[in-house]
Amino acid sequence: MKLDVILRVVVKLMLPFMLLFALYVQFHGELGPGGGFQAGVIAAGMVILYALIFGIRQAKRLVPQRLVEAMVPLGVLIYLGTGIVAMLLGGNYLDYSTLAHDSRHGQEYGIMAVELGVLITVSSSMLAIFYAFVERGR
């Protein structure tokens, strides 16, 4: 299909900006609108767009199925792990004040770790669901 060329070139130019935007939304979630969920969905959307234009096989070479399957529980484990680390350091479960020398910095580190866990789980879950729908049809 001749018009394929336009789609491929434009999408290839857009993909790095989408990933950059997802990371921007994740790390600036504390200063403006954003956070783990929005960033995870945008990152998954990037790989979904790549799969729609270049084919599912290319997308699976970029993000293999095993990696997605490993990332889905990893985010939840990071979240739970932050709570357990806080408990081991002497506070209650998910009490971030104990994570650093100072209560305020501890809260910030805890929020960053938790948002990272949310990002990993949400992006890989959306991607896993997409892969499942596509694989059923082949």
Partner: protein
């Protein structure tokens, strides 16, 4: 001015909903659902819910459309004309609407600053967020720190949904004949 933009966007939302009810071509319905999500995100921005608007735009108009189109591709149907009369559902809907109108008539007018909802916990979060957590976005600090347990449950729900869909849809497609005979295809090996 805010109230006027609000009213116009809400009216557009109602019109799109009527179109979704009437439309029978499922591809058109899914496209209208994407428009609906986009209008909802705009209304949420007018209502100052910027985090929620970003989530609704990316989730509702983004991945939700992709999943529905994927399911439509795998099932490939057009909605049939309904066989039963629509009178009983309309009566039930009208009854529910009347009860809800009676319930919400006592709510305070839109946009008042001294409503009951703005007392108790919310002013505490707004005042203490930067002092306790050094995070200016009160929604993020509430989500991750003050109400951290709820977010843990939410992440677990997303994880469970991915598990469920993978369990349901992994493996090669089986036609209705094979499903009764219980044949397994190569793709089902663990």
């Amino acid at each position: 001015m805010e109230a006027l933009i609000n009213a116009v966007l809400l009216t557009l939302l109602a019109v799109v909903t009527l179109a979704i009810i009437r439309q029978r071509n499922l591809f058109g319905v899914i496209a209208l659902a994407g428009i609906y999500s986009f209008l909802m995100a705009s209304i949420l921005i007018v209502l100052d819910a910027v985090d929620v608007a970003m989530t609704e735009a990316s989730v509702g108009a983004g991945v939700s459309t992709v999943f529905m189109l994927g399911a439509l591709h795998l099932t490939r149907s057009v909605e049939q004309r309904p066989h039963h009369s629509a009178l009983l559902p309309l009566l039930v809907a009208a009854g529910v609407a009347a009860a809800l109108v009676w319930g919400t008539i006592g709510l305070p007018p839109f946009g008042t600053a001294d409503a009951v909802i703005h007392r108790h916990v919310a002013p505490v979060y707004l005042a203490d967020s930067v002092k306790d957590t050094m995070v200016p976005n009160v929604v993020t600090s509430t989500l991750a720190s003050y109400r951290g347990y709820d977010t843990l449950g939410e992440t677990t729900v997303v994880f469970t949904a991915a598990m469920g869909v993978m369990l349901l849809l992994r493996g090669r497609r089986r036609t209705s004949g094979n499903a009764a005979a219980g044949k397994k295809s190569k793709g089902e090996q663990p």
